[in-house]
Protein backbone atom coordinates (compact mmCIF):
# COMPACT_ATOMS: atom_id res chain seq x y z
CA UNK A 1 0.00 0.00 0.00
CA UNK A 2 1.43 3.37 -1.02
CA UNK A 3 1.72 6.17 1.53
CA UNK A 4 -0.53 8.53 -0.44
CA UNK A 5 -3.68 7.22 -2.09
CA UNK A 6 -7.10 8.47 -3.12
CA UNK A 7 -10.03 6.09 -3.25
CA UNK A 8 -13.42 6.56 -4.89
CA UNK A 9 -12.94 10.34 -5.00
CA UNK A 10 -15.68 12.66 -6.17
CA UNK A 11 -14.11 16.07 -6.60
CA UNK A 12 -16.26 19.14 -7.05
CA UNK A 13 -16.23 22.90 -6.69
CA UNK A 14 -19.65 23.76 -5.28
CA UNK A 15 -22.02 21.83 -7.54
CA UNK A 16 -19.65 21.48 -10.51
CA UNK A 17 -18.31 17.94 -10.41
CA UNK A 18 -14.79 17.73 -11.83
CA UNK A 19 -14.16 14.03 -11.31
CA UNK A 20 -16.00 11.05 -9.86
CA UNK A 21 -15.08 7.53 -8.71
CA UNK A 22 -11.42 8.36 -9.07
CA UNK A 23 -8.90 5.89 -7.65
CA UNK A 24 -5.30 6.90 -7.53
CA UNK A 25 -2.15 5.68 -5.87
CA UNK A 26 1.12 7.59 -5.72
CA UNK A 27 3.96 5.02 -5.80
CA UNK A 28 6.38 5.60 -2.92
CA UNK A 29 9.62 7.31 -3.88
CA UNK A 30 8.36 7.93 -7.40
CA UNK A 31 8.48 11.15 -9.38
CA UNK A 32 4.84 11.09 -10.43
CA UNK A 33 3.69 13.57 -13.05
CA UNK A 34 0.02 14.23 -13.72
CA UNK A 35 -0.77 15.36 -17.27
CA UNK A 36 -3.90 16.02 -19.27
CA UNK A 37 -5.61 18.76 -21.27
CA UNK A 38 -6.86 21.98 -19.66
CA UNK A 39 -9.78 21.45 -17.27
CA UNK A 40 -9.20 17.68 -17.05
CA UNK A 41 -9.07 17.88 -13.28
CA UNK A 42 -5.33 17.35 -12.78
CA UNK A 43 -4.78 20.34 -10.50
CA UNK A 44 -8.01 19.48 -8.70
CA UNK A 45 -6.72 15.97 -8.05
CA UNK A 46 -3.42 17.34 -6.76
CA UNK A 47 -5.25 19.77 -4.48
CA UNK A 48 -7.37 16.93 -3.13
CA UNK A 49 -4.26 14.84 -2.46
CA UNK A 50 -2.81 17.81 -0.59
CA UNK A 51 -6.06 18.20 1.47
CA UNK A 52 -6.72 21.66 -0.05
CA UNK A 53 -10.03 20.36 -1.38
CA UNK A 54 -12.29 18.06 0.60
CA UNK A 55 -13.69 15.29 -1.63
CA UNK A 56 -17.49 15.05 -1.84
CA UNK A 57 -17.19 11.28 -1.52
CA UNK A 58 -14.29 8.94 -0.97
CA UNK A 59 -11.13 9.84 0.89
CA UNK A 60 -7.47 10.59 0.53
CA UNK A 61 -5.32 8.40 2.78
CA UNK A 62 -1.88 9.33 4.06
CA UNK A 63 0.01 6.44 5.69
CA UNK A 64 -3.25 4.57 6.05
CA UNK A 65 -5.21 7.33 7.82
CA UNK A 66 -7.85 9.55 6.27
CA UNK A 67 -5.84 12.72 5.63
CA UNK A 68 -8.48 15.11 6.96
CA UNK A 69 -8.66 13.19 10.23
CA UNK A 70 -4.99 13.86 10.98
CA UNK A 71 -3.92 17.08 12.70
CA UNK A 72 -3.09 19.61 10.01
CA UNK A 73 0.40 20.34 11.34
CA UNK A 74 1.11 16.62 11.53
CA UNK A 75 0.21 16.25 7.83
CA UNK A 76 2.36 19.28 7.04
CA UNK A 77 5.39 17.49 8.49
CA UNK A 78 4.89 14.59 6.07
CA UNK A 79 3.45 16.21 2.96
CA UNK A 80 4.34 19.56 1.42
CA UNK A 81 2.68 21.50 -1.39
CA UNK A 82 3.88 24.19 -3.72
CA UNK A 83 0.59 25.86 -4.74
CA UNK A 84 0.07 27.16 -8.26
CA UNK A 85 -0.03 30.74 -7.09
CA UNK A 86 1.08 32.20 -3.80
CA UNK A 87 1.28 35.84 -2.83
CA UNK A 88 4.66 37.24 -1.84
CA UNK A 89 4.24 39.30 1.35
CA UNK A 90 5.36 42.91 0.81
CA UNK A 91 8.96 43.53 1.69
CA UNK A 92 9.80 39.99 2.87
CA UNK A 93 13.37 38.74 2.48
CA UNK A 94 14.27 35.41 0.92
CA UNK A 95 15.53 34.02 4.23
CA UNK A 96 12.34 35.04 6.06
CA UNK A 97 10.08 33.53 3.41
CA UNK A 98 12.00 30.24 3.38
CA UNK A 99 11.89 30.21 7.20
CA UNK A 100 8.08 30.26 7.03
CA UNK A 101 8.26 26.69 5.73
CA UNK A 102 9.29 25.66 9.25
CA UNK A 103 5.88 26.55 10.70
CA UNK A 104 4.68 22.93 11.15
CA UNK A 105 7.82 22.13 13.16
CA UNK A 106 7.43 25.09 15.50
CA UNK A 107 5.46 25.67 18.67
CA UNK A 108 4.72 28.70 20.78
CA UNK A 109 7.75 28.05 22.97
CA UNK A 110 9.92 26.57 20.23
CA UNK A 111 9.95 29.16 17.49
CA UNK A 112 13.45 28.86 16.11
CA UNK A 113 15.35 25.70 17.02
CA UNK A 114 18.73 24.63 15.73
CA UNK A 115 16.90 22.16 13.45
CA UNK A 116 14.94 25.06 11.93
CA UNK A 117 18.14 26.89 11.18
CA UNK A 118 19.78 23.86 9.58
CA UNK A 119 16.71 23.03 7.48
CA UNK A 120 16.42 26.59 6.14
CA UNK A 121 20.13 26.76 5.31
CA UNK A 122 20.11 23.45 3.47
CA UNK A 123 16.86 24.27 1.62
CA UNK A 124 18.42 27.53 0.40
CA UNK A 125 21.60 25.72 -0.58
CA UNK A 126 19.70 23.03 -2.49
CA UNK A 127 17.76 25.61 -4.48
CA UNK A 128 20.81 27.83 -4.92
CA UNK A 129 19.27 30.90 -3.30
CA UNK A 130 21.72 31.22 -0.40
CA UNK A 131 23.41 34.21 -2.04
CA UNK A 132 19.99 35.91 -2.31
CA UNK A 133 19.06 35.35 1.34
CA UNK A 134 18.89 39.04 2.33
CA UNK A 135 17.23 40.17 -0.93
CA UNK A 136 13.58 41.25 -1.08
CA UNK A 137 11.59 38.49 -2.81
CA UNK A 138 9.47 40.99 -4.78
CA UNK A 139 12.58 42.24 -6.55
CA UNK A 140 13.70 38.82 -7.84
CA UNK A 141 13.14 37.42 -11.33
CA UNK A 142 10.39 34.86 -11.92
CA UNK A 143 12.83 31.96 -11.97
CA UNK A 144 14.56 33.04 -8.77
CA UNK A 145 11.23 33.59 -7.06
CA UNK A 146 10.04 30.09 -7.97
CA UNK A 147 13.26 28.67 -6.51
CA UNK A 148 12.56 30.59 -3.31
CA UNK A 149 9.03 29.14 -3.07
CA UNK A 150 10.52 25.71 -3.65
CA UNK A 151 13.05 26.38 -0.90
CA UNK A 152 10.19 27.23 1.46
CA UNK A 153 8.49 23.93 0.62
CA UNK A 154 11.83 22.11 1.07
CA UNK A 155 12.45 23.72 4.45
CA UNK A 156 9.28 21.97 5.54
CA UNK A 157 11.33 18.73 5.22
CA UNK A 158 8.51 16.49 4.10
CA UNK A 159 9.12 13.07 2.55
CA UNK A 160 6.31 13.78 0.06
CA UNK A 161 6.23 16.99 -1.98
CA UNK A 162 3.41 18.01 -4.33
CA UNK A 163 3.92 20.72 -6.95
CA UNK A 164 1.06 22.38 -8.82
CA UNK A 165 2.37 23.50 -12.23
CA UNK A 166 5.78 24.54 -10.88
CA UNK A 167 7.04 25.62 -14.31
CA UNK A 168 4.15 27.82 -15.45
CA UNK A 169 5.18 31.42 -16.18
CA UNK A 170 8.84 30.45 -16.40
CA UNK A 171 10.93 30.63 -19.55
CA UNK A 172 12.39 27.41 -20.92
CA UNK A 173 15.76 27.55 -19.17
CA UNK A 174 14.15 28.26 -15.81
CA UNK A 175 11.64 25.45 -16.43
CA UNK A 176 14.50 23.00 -16.92
CA UNK A 177 16.30 24.40 -13.88
CA UNK A 178 13.27 23.82 -11.65
CA UNK A 179 12.65 20.34 -13.06
CA UNK A 180 16.31 19.34 -12.66
CA UNK A 181 16.06 20.45 -9.07
CA UNK A 182 12.91 18.32 -8.63
CA UNK A 183 14.77 15.35 -10.13
CA UNK A 184 17.59 15.88 -7.63
CA UNK A 185 15.10 15.97 -4.77
CA UNK A 186 13.55 12.76 -6.07
CA UNK A 187 16.94 11.08 -6.25
CA UNK A 188 17.53 12.02 -2.62
CA UNK A 189 14.57 9.80 -1.76
CA UNK A 190 11.59 12.13 -1.77
CA UNK A 191 8.27 11.19 -3.33
CA UNK A 192 7.55 13.98 -5.82
CA UNK A 193 4.17 14.63 -7.47
CA UNK A 194 3.86 17.40 -10.05
CA UNK A 195 1.22 18.67 -12.44
CA UNK A 196 2.90 19.62 -15.71
CA UNK A 197 1.69 20.90 -19.08
CA UNK A 198 4.62 19.96 -21.26
CA UNK A 199 4.35 16.29 -22.34
CA UNK A 200 8.00 15.99 -23.31
CA UNK A 201 9.17 17.36 -19.97
CA UNK A 202 6.71 15.03 -18.23
CA UNK A 203 8.13 12.03 -20.10
CA UNK A 204 11.70 13.05 -19.43
CA UNK A 205 11.39 13.61 -15.68
CA UNK A 206 8.58 11.31 -14.53
CA UNK A 207 9.13 7.79 -13.25
CA UNK A 208 5.36 7.40 -13.14
CA UNK A 209 2.81 9.17 -15.35
CA UNK A 210 -0.86 9.73 -14.58
CA UNK A 211 -2.83 10.73 -17.67
CA UNK A 212 -6.24 12.33 -17.16
CA UNK A 213 -9.08 13.53 -19.34
CA UNK A 214 -12.48 14.85 -18.25
CA UNK A 215 -11.86 13.81 -14.67
CA UNK A 216 -11.06 10.22 -15.64
CA UNK A 217 -7.75 8.52 -15.11
CA UNK A 218 -7.06 7.29 -18.67
CA UNK A 219 -3.65 5.68 -18.22
CA UNK A 220 -0.81 5.39 -15.77
CA UNK A 221 2.60 3.85 -15.62
CA UNK A 222 6.12 4.41 -16.86
CA UNK A 223 6.29 7.08 -19.58
CA UNK A 224 7.82 4.70 -22.15
CA UNK A 225 5.01 2.21 -21.63
CA UNK A 226 2.16 4.73 -21.45
CA UNK A 227 2.93 7.26 -24.16
CA UNK A 228 1.61 6.10 -27.52
CA UNK A 229 0.33 8.13 -30.48
CA UNK A 230 -3.13 6.63 -29.86
CA UNK A 231 -3.16 7.76 -26.25
CA UNK A 232 -2.08 11.28 -27.17
CA UNK A 233 -4.82 11.47 -29.79
CA UNK A 234 -7.40 10.04 -27.40
CA UNK A 235 -6.48 12.41 -24.57
CA UNK A 236 -5.38 15.59 -26.31
CA UNK A 237 -7.11 15.27 -29.71
CA UNK A 238 -3.69 15.64 -31.26
CA UNK A 239 -2.21 13.43 -33.94
CA UNK A 240 1.48 12.93 -33.38
CA UNK A 241 4.52 10.83 -33.89
CA UNK A 242 6.56 9.60 -30.95
CA UNK A 243 10.32 9.28 -31.21
CA UNK A 244 13.05 8.76 -28.67
CA UNK A 245 14.31 11.92 -27.00
CA UNK A 246 17.85 12.22 -28.37
CA UNK A 247 19.11 13.36 -24.97
CA UNK A 248 17.31 11.05 -22.54
CA UNK A 249 15.83 8.29 -24.67
CA UNK A 250 12.38 8.98 -23.18
CA UNK A 251 9.33 9.45 -25.44
CA UNK A 252 9.34 12.70 -27.42
CA UNK A 253 6.01 13.80 -28.82
CA UNK A 254 6.20 15.43 -32.26
CA UNK A 255 2.82 16.85 -33.29
CA UNK A 256 1.77 16.15 -36.85
CA UNK A 257 2.35 19.11 -39.16
CA UNK A 258 -0.91 20.68 -40.33
CA UNK A 259 0.34 20.64 -43.94
CA UNK A 260 3.52 19.82 -45.77
CA UNK A 261 6.57 22.02 -45.28
CA UNK A 262 5.94 25.36 -46.90
CA UNK A 263 7.18 25.67 -50.43
CA UNK A 264 8.81 28.98 -51.20
CA UNK A 265 6.40 31.43 -52.80
CA UNK A 266 7.34 32.08 -56.41
CA UNK A 267 7.70 35.68 -57.43
Amino acid sequence: MARLTGSDLTLAYEQRVVASSLNVEIPDESFTVIIGPNACGKSTLLRALARMLRPKTGAVHLDGSVITSLPSKEVARRLGLLPQTSIVPDGITVADLVARGRYPHQRLMRQWSKADEVAVASAMAATDVTSLSERIVDELSGGQRQRVWLAMALAQETPILLLDEPTTYLDISHQIEVLDLCADLHEQGRTMVAVLHDLNQACRYATHLIVMRDGVLVAEGEPAAVMTPDLVEQVFDLRCEIIADPQSGTPLIVPEARRRARTPVAH
Binding site: P71, K73, L81, P83
Partner: protein
Protein backbone atom coordinates in the same frame (compact mmCIF):
# COMPACT_ATOMS: atom_id res chain seq x y z
CA UNK B 1 18.13 37.00 10.05
CA UNK B 2 18.37 37.80 13.70
CA UNK B 3 20.14 35.93 16.45
CA UNK B 4 17.91 33.35 18.07
CA UNK B 5 17.54 32.98 21.82
CA UNK B 6 17.59 29.37 22.94
CA UNK B 7 17.15 27.96 26.44
CA UNK B 8 17.01 24.18 26.64
CA UNK B 9 14.22 22.98 24.37
CA UNK B 10 12.75 26.50 24.13
CA UNK B 11 13.69 28.93 21.42
CA UNK B 12 12.60 32.36 20.21
CA UNK B 13 13.70 34.58 17.40
CA UNK B 14 12.96 38.12 18.52
CA UNK B 15 12.71 40.82 15.88
CA UNK B 16 14.81 43.57 17.53
CA UNK B 17 13.42 46.38 15.42
CA UNK B 18 9.79 45.46 16.12
CA UNK B 19 10.62 45.21 19.83
CA UNK B 20 12.34 48.61 19.93
CA UNK B 21 9.52 50.23 17.95
CA UNK B 22 6.88 48.70 20.23
CA UNK B 23 8.68 49.92 23.35
CA UNK B 24 9.05 53.38 21.81
CA UNK B 25 5.31 53.41 21.06
CA UNK B 26 4.52 52.43 24.65
CA UNK B 27 6.80 55.23 25.87
CA UNK B 28 5.15 57.67 23.47
CA UNK B 29 1.66 56.80 24.66
CA UNK B 30 2.67 57.19 28.31
CA UNK B 31 4.26 60.57 27.52
CA UNK B 32 1.20 61.71 25.57
CA UNK B 33 -1.09 60.57 28.38
CA UNK B 34 0.92 62.52 30.96
CA UNK B 35 0.90 65.67 28.82
CA UNK B 36 -2.83 65.35 28.17
CA UNK B 37 -3.62 64.86 31.85
CA UNK B 38 -1.32 67.53 33.24
CA UNK B 39 -1.79 70.39 30.79
CA UNK B 40 -4.81 72.45 29.82
CA UNK B 41 -6.66 75.36 31.34
CA UNK B 42 -5.71 74.08 34.77
CA UNK B 43 -2.22 72.66 35.04
CA UNK B 44 -1.70 69.61 37.23
CA UNK B 45 2.02 68.92 37.78
CA UNK B 46 2.96 65.44 36.59
CA UNK B 47 4.05 64.56 40.11
CA UNK B 48 0.53 65.25 41.40
CA UNK B 49 -1.22 63.03 38.87
CA UNK B 50 -0.60 59.78 40.68
CA UNK B 51 -1.60 61.17 44.05
CA UNK B 52 -4.77 62.60 42.51
CA UNK B 53 -5.62 59.25 40.88
CA UNK B 54 -5.35 57.53 44.26
CA UNK B 55 -7.51 60.14 45.94
CA UNK B 56 -4.66 61.81 47.83
CA UNK B 57 -4.58 65.13 45.93
CA UNK B 58 -6.48 68.40 46.27
CA UNK B 59 -10.20 68.14 45.46
CA UNK B 60 -9.75 70.26 42.30
CA UNK B 61 -6.86 68.18 41.03
CA UNK B 62 -8.77 65.02 41.83
CA UNK B 63 -11.83 66.17 39.89
CA UNK B 64 -9.77 67.23 36.89
CA UNK B 65 -7.51 64.22 36.82
CA UNK B 66 -9.74 61.35 37.90
CA UNK B 67 -13.06 62.48 36.52
CA UNK B 68 -12.25 64.59 33.46
CA UNK B 69 -8.86 64.03 31.89
CA UNK B 70 -7.77 60.51 32.82
CA UNK B 71 -10.90 58.75 31.58
CA UNK B 72 -10.73 60.69 28.34
CA UNK B 73 -7.08 59.73 27.83
CA UNK B 74 -7.71 56.09 28.72
CA UNK B 75 -10.70 55.97 26.37
CA UNK B 76 -8.54 57.48 23.64
CA UNK B 77 -5.73 54.95 24.16
CA UNK B 78 -8.11 52.00 24.29
CA UNK B 79 -10.22 53.12 21.32
CA UNK B 80 -7.11 53.84 19.28
CA UNK B 81 -5.68 50.41 20.09
CA UNK B 82 -8.98 48.71 19.26
CA UNK B 83 -9.26 50.51 15.91
CA UNK B 84 -5.60 49.78 15.14
CA UNK B 85 -6.06 46.07 15.86
CA UNK B 86 -9.31 45.84 13.95
CA UNK B 87 -7.75 47.60 10.97
CA UNK B 88 -4.71 45.31 11.05
CA UNK B 89 -6.91 42.20 11.14
CA UNK B 90 -9.05 43.20 8.16
CA UNK B 91 -6.15 44.57 6.13
CA UNK B 92 -4.42 41.25 6.65
CA UNK B 93 -7.51 39.22 5.73
CA UNK B 94 -8.20 41.28 2.60
CA UNK B 95 -4.49 41.80 1.80
CA UNK B 96 -5.44 45.38 1.04
CA UNK B 97 -4.81 48.64 2.96
CA UNK B 98 -8.28 49.77 1.91
CA UNK B 99 -9.80 46.70 3.54
CA UNK B 100 -10.10 48.56 6.85
CA UNK B 101 -13.30 48.59 8.87
CA UNK B 102 -13.62 52.37 8.36
CA UNK B 103 -13.68 51.88 4.57
CA UNK B 104 -15.66 48.69 4.13
CA UNK B 105 -18.72 49.69 6.10
CA UNK B 106 -18.14 48.18 9.55
CA UNK B 107 -17.47 51.47 11.33
CA UNK B 108 -20.25 53.02 9.26
CA UNK B 109 -22.62 50.25 10.34
CA UNK B 110 -21.74 50.91 13.95
CA UNK B 111 -22.30 54.64 13.34
CA UNK B 112 -25.71 54.10 11.78
CA UNK B 113 -26.72 51.91 14.72
CA UNK B 114 -25.52 54.61 17.09
CA UNK B 115 -27.26 57.44 15.23
CA UNK B 116 -30.47 55.48 15.22
CA UNK B 117 -30.22 55.22 19.01
CA UNK B 118 -29.37 58.94 19.33
CA UNK B 119 -32.29 60.18 17.23
CA UNK B 120 -34.62 57.88 19.13
CA UNK B 121 -33.42 59.64 22.27
CA UNK B 122 -31.51 56.64 23.55
CA UNK B 123 -29.36 56.56 26.67
CA UNK B 124 -25.59 56.16 26.51
CA UNK B 125 -25.94 52.42 27.03
CA UNK B 126 -28.51 52.17 24.25
CA UNK B 127 -26.28 54.16 21.91
CA UNK B 128 -23.40 51.80 22.64
CA UNK B 129 -25.62 48.77 22.12
CA UNK B 130 -26.93 50.29 18.89
CA UNK B 131 -23.47 50.78 17.46
CA UNK B 132 -22.29 47.33 18.53
CA UNK B 133 -25.35 45.81 16.89
CA UNK B 134 -24.97 47.96 13.76
CA UNK B 135 -21.35 46.91 13.40
CA UNK B 136 -22.15 43.20 13.56
CA UNK B 137 -25.08 43.52 11.13
CA UNK B 138 -23.07 45.48 8.58
CA UNK B 139 -20.21 42.97 8.80
CA UNK B 140 -22.59 40.06 8.23
CA UNK B 141 -24.16 41.97 5.33
CA UNK B 142 -20.83 42.78 3.67
CA UNK B 143 -19.58 39.20 4.02
CA UNK B 144 -22.86 37.76 2.75
CA UNK B 145 -22.91 40.06 -0.29
CA UNK B 146 -19.25 39.40 -1.07
CA UNK B 147 -19.54 35.63 -0.68
CA UNK B 148 -19.06 33.61 -3.81
CA UNK B 149 -17.22 30.32 -3.26
CA UNK B 150 -15.44 31.88 -0.34
CA UNK B 151 -14.67 35.55 0.12
CA UNK B 152 -11.94 37.21 -1.90
CA UNK B 153 -10.31 40.29 -0.41
CA UNK B 154 -10.78 42.45 -3.46
CA UNK B 155 -14.50 41.74 -3.78
CA UNK B 156 -14.97 42.27 -0.05
CA UNK B 157 -13.40 45.73 -0.33
CA UNK B 158 -15.59 46.71 -3.30
CA UNK B 159 -18.79 45.42 -1.71
CA UNK B 160 -17.78 47.06 1.57
CA UNK B 161 -17.28 50.44 -0.08
CA UNK B 162 -20.76 50.13 -1.58
CA UNK B 163 -22.34 49.22 1.75
CA UNK B 164 -20.38 52.07 3.36
CA UNK B 165 -21.96 54.57 0.94
CA UNK B 166 -25.46 53.25 1.61
CA UNK B 167 -24.91 53.52 5.37
CA UNK B 168 -23.65 57.12 5.10
CA UNK B 169 -26.80 57.95 3.14
CA UNK B 170 -28.86 56.29 5.87
CA UNK B 171 -27.12 58.46 8.51
CA UNK B 172 -27.99 61.60 6.58
CA UNK B 173 -31.58 60.50 6.17
CA UNK B 174 -31.86 59.83 9.88
CA UNK B 175 -30.48 63.31 10.63
CA UNK B 176 -33.12 64.96 8.42
CA UNK B 177 -35.86 63.06 10.23
CA UNK B 178 -34.62 63.86 13.73
CA UNK B 179 -35.62 66.87 15.79
CA UNK B 180 -33.06 69.65 15.89
CA UNK B 181 -31.51 68.77 19.26
CA UNK B 182 -31.17 65.07 18.53
CA UNK B 183 -29.77 65.91 15.10
CA UNK B 184 -27.14 68.17 16.64
CA UNK B 185 -26.15 65.46 19.14
CA UNK B 186 -26.07 62.81 16.44
CA UNK B 187 -24.02 65.07 14.16
CA UNK B 188 -21.44 65.64 16.89
CA UNK B 189 -21.32 61.92 17.64
CA UNK B 190 -20.88 61.13 13.93
CA UNK B 191 -17.69 63.17 13.78
CA UNK B 192 -16.10 60.90 16.32
CA UNK B 193 -15.14 62.58 19.54
CA UNK B 194 -13.53 61.87 22.89
CA UNK B 195 -14.85 64.94 24.64
CA UNK B 196 -16.74 64.25 27.85
CA UNK B 197 -15.80 60.55 27.86
CA UNK B 198 -15.86 59.02 31.32
CA UNK B 199 -14.82 55.74 32.90
CA UNK B 200 -18.07 54.15 31.71
CA UNK B 201 -16.85 54.71 28.14
CA UNK B 202 -13.31 53.48 28.80
CA UNK B 203 -14.28 50.33 30.68
CA UNK B 204 -16.08 48.37 27.92
CA UNK B 205 -13.24 49.02 25.45
CA UNK B 206 -10.65 48.02 28.03
CA UNK B 207 -12.53 44.80 28.79
CA UNK B 208 -12.86 44.03 25.08
CA UNK B 209 -9.12 44.53 24.66
CA UNK B 210 -8.33 42.34 27.67
CA UNK B 211 -10.38 39.51 26.16
CA UNK B 212 -9.53 39.95 22.50
CA UNK B 213 -5.82 40.85 22.54
CA UNK B 214 -4.91 37.27 23.56
CA UNK B 215 -7.11 35.99 20.70
CA UNK B 216 -5.29 38.33 18.33
CA UNK B 217 -1.90 37.11 19.59
CA UNK B 218 -2.97 33.52 18.97
CA UNK B 219 -4.03 34.16 15.37
CA UNK B 220 -1.25 36.60 14.56
CA UNK B 221 1.25 34.13 13.06
CA UNK B 222 -1.36 32.09 11.16
CA UNK B 223 -2.81 35.34 9.77
CA UNK B 224 0.59 36.34 8.45
CA UNK B 225 0.94 32.97 6.75
CA UNK B 226 -2.53 33.38 5.23
CA UNK B 227 -1.36 36.59 3.56
CA UNK B 228 0.50 34.25 1.18
CA UNK B 229 -2.80 32.67 0.14
CA UNK B 230 -5.06 30.06 1.71
CA UNK B 231 -3.37 27.12 -0.02
CA UNK B 232 0.11 28.21 1.05
CA UNK B 233 -1.11 28.55 4.64
CA UNK B 234 -2.90 25.18 4.60
CA UNK B 235 0.21 23.56 3.15
CA UNK B 236 2.20 24.43 6.27
CA UNK B 237 -0.55 23.09 8.49
CA UNK B 238 -2.72 26.08 9.32
CA UNK B 239 -6.41 25.46 9.76
CA UNK B 240 -7.47 28.45 7.72
CA UNK B 241 -11.22 28.54 8.41
CA UNK B 242 -11.18 28.63 12.23
CA UNK B 243 -8.35 31.18 12.22
CA UNK B 244 -10.26 33.40 9.82
CA UNK B 245 -13.49 33.07 11.80
CA UNK B 246 -11.76 33.99 15.08
CA UNK B 247 -10.02 36.94 13.43
CA UNK B 248 -13.25 38.25 11.89
CA UNK B 249 -15.18 37.99 15.16
CA UNK B 250 -12.37 39.73 17.10
CA UNK B 251 -12.04 42.45 14.45
CA UNK B 252 -15.75 43.19 14.27
CA UNK B 253 -16.15 43.27 18.06
CA UNK B 254 -13.16 45.61 18.46
CA UNK B 255 -14.49 47.93 15.77
CA UNK B 256 -17.97 47.90 17.31
CA UNK B 257 -16.86 48.54 20.87
CA UNK B 258 -14.48 51.31 19.78
CA UNK B 259 -17.15 53.07 17.74
CA UNK B 260 -19.60 52.71 20.60
CA UNK B 261 -17.20 54.59 22.87
CA UNK B 262 -15.94 57.34 20.58
CA UNK B 263 -18.16 57.42 17.51
CA UNK B 264 -16.93 56.57 14.01
CA UNK B 265 -13.41 58.02 14.20
CA UNK B 266 -12.08 57.77 10.67
CA UNK B 267 -8.66 56.66 9.41
CA UNK B 268 -7.12 55.33 12.63
CA UNK B 269 -7.97 51.76 11.63
CA UNK B 270 -6.73 52.45 8.12
CA UNK B 271 -3.52 54.32 8.90
CA UNK B 272 -2.26 52.64 12.10
CA UNK B 273 -1.43 49.21 10.56
CA UNK B 274 0.24 50.84 7.56
CA UNK B 275 2.33 53.12 9.77
CA UNK B 276 3.20 50.23 12.09
CA UNK B 277 4.34 48.10 9.17
CA UNK B 278 6.63 50.83 7.92
CA UNK B 279 7.97 51.59 11.39
CA UNK B 280 8.77 47.96 12.20
CA UNK B 281 9.80 47.21 8.59
CA UNK B 282 7.97 43.96 8.99
CA UNK B 283 6.63 41.95 6.07
CA UNK B 284 2.85 41.84 6.33
CA UNK B 285 0.59 43.28 8.97
CA UNK B 286 1.76 43.36 12.61
CA UNK B 287 -1.09 43.22 15.10
CA UNK B 288 0.45 44.42 18.36
CA UNK B 289 2.47 47.24 16.79
CA UNK B 290 -0.71 48.31 14.95
CA UNK B 291 -2.63 48.46 18.23
CA UNK B 292 0.10 50.57 19.85
CA UNK B 293 0.32 52.86 16.82
CA UNK B 294 -3.46 53.30 16.89
CA UNK B 295 -3.32 54.27 20.56
CA UNK B 296 -0.57 56.83 19.98
CA UNK B 297 -2.25 58.19 16.85
CA UNK B 298 -5.64 58.76 18.43
CA UNK B 299 -4.25 60.18 21.69
CA UNK B 300 -1.97 62.56 19.78
CA UNK B 301 -4.81 63.61 17.50
CA UNK B 302 -7.10 64.23 20.48
CA UNK B 303 -4.46 66.32 22.22
CA UNK B 304 -4.03 68.37 19.04
CA UNK B 305 -7.80 68.66 18.63
CA UNK B 306 -8.07 70.15 22.11
CA UNK B 307 -5.09 72.51 21.88
CA UNK B 308 -4.71 73.48 18.22
CA UNK B 309 -7.52 76.03 18.05
CA UNK B 310 -8.02 76.47 21.82
CA UNK B 311 -10.35 77.54 23.26
CA UNK B 312 -12.29 76.05 20.32
CA UNK B 313 -12.44 72.28 20.76
CA UNK B 314 -12.36 70.20 17.58
CA UNK B 315 -13.87 66.72 17.49
CA UNK B 316 -10.94 64.30 17.19
CA UNK B 317 -12.52 62.66 14.14
CA UNK B 318 -12.09 65.87 12.14
CA UNK B 319 -8.38 65.80 12.84
CA UNK B 320 -7.82 62.09 12.19
CA UNK B 321 -9.71 62.45 8.91
CA UNK B 322 -7.53 65.40 7.88
CA UNK B 323 -4.28 63.66 8.86
CA UNK B 324 -5.40 60.30 7.57
CA UNK B 325 -6.62 61.68 4.26
CA UNK B 326 -3.28 63.36 3.63
CA UNK B 327 -1.52 60.17 4.57
CA UNK B 328 -3.70 58.08 2.25
CA UNK B 329 -2.98 60.40 -0.65
CA UNK B 330 0.77 60.10 0.01
CA UNK B 331 0.52 56.34 0.32
CA UNK B 332 -1.27 56.00 -3.01
CA UNK B 333 1.19 58.37 -4.63
CA UNK B 334 4.10 56.29 -3.35
CA UNK B 335 2.51 53.01 -4.49
CA UNK B 336 1.97 54.41 -7.97
CA UNK B 337 5.68 54.90 -8.45
Amino acid sequence: MTTPVRVGPYSMRPAPRALVVSLALVAASVALALVAISTGEFTVPVADIVTALFGQGTPVAELIVSQLRAPRVVTGLAVGAAFGLSGAIFQSLTRNPLGSPDFIGFTAGAATGGVLAVVMGGTAVQIAAGSMFGCVISAVLVYALAFRRGVQGYRLVLVGIGVNAVLLAADNYLLTKANINDAANAGAWLNGSLSGRGWDHALPVAIALAVLVPVCCAVSRPLRMMEMGDDAARAVGIRVEPVRAAAIVAGVLLCGVATAAAGPVMFVAMAAPQLARRLTRSPGVTLIASALTGAVLLTAADLAAQRLLAPTQLPVGVLTAAIGGTYLALLLRKDRR
